[in-house]
């Protein structure tokens, strides 16, 4: 079990239990988190799964994947150095406790 906390734009925190191998996006969708759309199902085509990895977790979450940077450029909200496509963050035991912040909009 890997715990992930999603912090919505208005500050609401939701803690979910995921399985290793799930992505931060797919877990959010499966549990009905509003702030992530995930239109392309994790194919790195839509940038509607944008999230900001909490500072404390930036290193553990690792660097962006190949192509992620280019897709992020079309995200609806500001892209910062903590911006990731949540479909590209795969849950591992090391990420237990992960905190991600969600942007105001995805489209």
């Amino acid at each position: 079990m890997v715990k992930v906390t999603y912090v919505a734009h208005d500050g609401t925190r939701t803690e979910l239990d995921g399985d290793p191998g799930d992505s931060v996006m797919s877990l959010a969708i499966a549990q009905g988190i509003d702030g992530i759309v995930g239109e392309c199902g994790g194919s790195m085509m839509c940038a509607t799964c944008h999230c900001y990895v909490d500072e404390d977790w930036a290193e553990t979450a690792g660097p962006r994947m190949d192509g992620e940077e280019d897709m992020l450029e079309s995200a609806a909200c500001e892209v910062t150095e903590r911006s990731r496509l949540s479909c590209q963050i795969k849950l591992t035991e090391a990420l237990d406790g992960l905190v991600v912040h969600l942007p105001e909009e995805q489209v």
Partner: protein, 392 residues
């Protein structure tokens, strides 16, 4: 603010998105999503990709059951709509009627079954049900024949070859994905699939499906114990047609995605709409069209006729380690300029219509932004920059 009852026929990718976007835009009235398939709305793209390998059907749901309650969306799965009574603003569902104020047709497509003798032996790949059947058949080594060298047939072929099955593809056109990509791209995918050990029969239509496999136009016999029919689809237009709405390779809609009946819209795979730039009537089969149409219609219902639909089309297809990405929309007759980095630019006269790339997210995204911008550079301007889109 809109408060009427919006009924959506078809609970696929576009139908669900329409329901979600209506709530997002602030629609206050009831929303009913009626779908012919059982279960929760799900994604189709993985059916010819990850699902065939993993079999994880629960991962396909677009939203969980709880979502529909939270958003006050009435989901009626396994419910087939039989007819529209436009005068009464009513749907007929068996012996029941359902009133609507606004209706969205999101009925998608169904597999085209050409009149080839023996075609009933061939399997389809359109629904989760189809994918389950197909996946179950892959549990033992097979000789597989695929009818049709389009995206779905090729994605399936790549997965099946990767799993160690022997695969043949018969395509009537002289090249792969001929309606959608340039000859240069077709060629690279031909090499990819041949490299995977797949036997390609191009320019060779199927004349019969037999118990031993396929019979081709040139009398060659392709041995197979499993046949997949992936020769294109047909839009589900019957509801619209019977209600007297215009149909032309899809339910005909205007730039607001509305039919001639102001209360009825159509979206996604079943809708024939005017392409923003050229006005050409097109019908797209893509996640992008389904979801962008849905968002546009929701906005129109809630806010009125603010802006005509103008989103840039995009599409992807995963085949083995090639991710094909297409930005824009080319007609088969559009010219092609193949660049050294592998990207192919498509032009109609002076105008850039589409950009095809393989495993090149940078150029793909650049192209999407360029094509969506106000001033798409003309061909000459691009030529002066050596067709380097990143310089534009």
């Amino acid at each position: 603010m809109s408060s009427g009852h919006v009924v959506i026929v078809g609970a696929g990718q576009g139908g669900l998105q329409a329901a979600m976007s209506l709530r997002q835009e602030g629609h206050e009235g009831p929303i009913t999503l009626v779908g012919g398939e059982p279960g929760l709305p799900y994604q189709r793209p993985p059916l010819s990709k990850a699902y065939l390998k993993t079999g994880e059907a629960e991962k396909l749901a677009l939203r969980p059951e709880s979502f529909f309650e939270t958003k006050a969306i009435t989901l009626r799965p396994g419910t087939w709509v039989d007819a529209i009574d436009r005068a009464a603003q009513q749907l007929r569902i068996g012996s029941e009627t359902l009133d609507y104020d606004t209706l969205i047709l999101a009925t998608g497509t169904r597999n085209l079954r050409p009149p080839i003798p023996g075609v009933e032996r061939a399997l389809d790949l359109r629904t989760l049900e189809d994918a389950r059947t197909l996946r179950a058949a892959l549990d033992q080594p097979r000789r597989i024949a695929v009818i049709g060298g389009g995206f779905i047939g090729l994605e399936f072929a790549a997965v099946a070859a990767g799993l160690g099955h022997h695969v043949s593809i018969a395509e009537a056109a002289p090249r792969l994905m001929a309606r959608a990509v340039s000859p240069a791209m077709s060629e690279r995918f031909r090499a990819l699939h041949e490299g995977l050990g797949t036997e390609l029969h191009l320019g060779n239509g199927v004349t019969e499906v037999t118990e031993r496999g396929l019979l081709l136009a040139d009398s060659v016999e392709v041995h197979a114990d499993l046949v997949l029919l992936a020769a294109g689809v047909r839009p589900n237009v019957e509801l619209a047609q019977q209600a007297g709405l215009e149909v032309d390779n899809g339910v005909v809609v205007d730039a607001m995605l509305r039919t001639a009946d102001p209360q009825i819209f159509a979206l996604g795979d079943c809708a024939a709409f005017p392409e923003a730039v050229s006005g050409r009537r097109v019908r797209l089969e893509s996640v992008q069209a389904a979801t962008d149409h849905a968002r546009s219609i929701a906005k129109t219902i809630v806010k009125g006729d603010v802006a005509p639909y103008a989103a840039v089309p995009w599409f992807w297809s995963d085949q083995h380690d090639f991710k094909l990405q297409i930005a824009g929309l080319a007609a088969p007759s559009d010219e092609s300029v193949a660049l050294d980095d592998g990207a192919v630019l498509r032009f109609r006269g002076d105008r850039l219509t589409a950009v095809e790339t393989i495993n090149n997210a940078k150029i793909h995204m650049k192209a999407r932004r360029l094509l969506g911008g106000d001033a798409v550079p003309a061909r000459d301007t691009l030529l002066q920059r050596n067709y380097d889109l990143t310089a534009a």
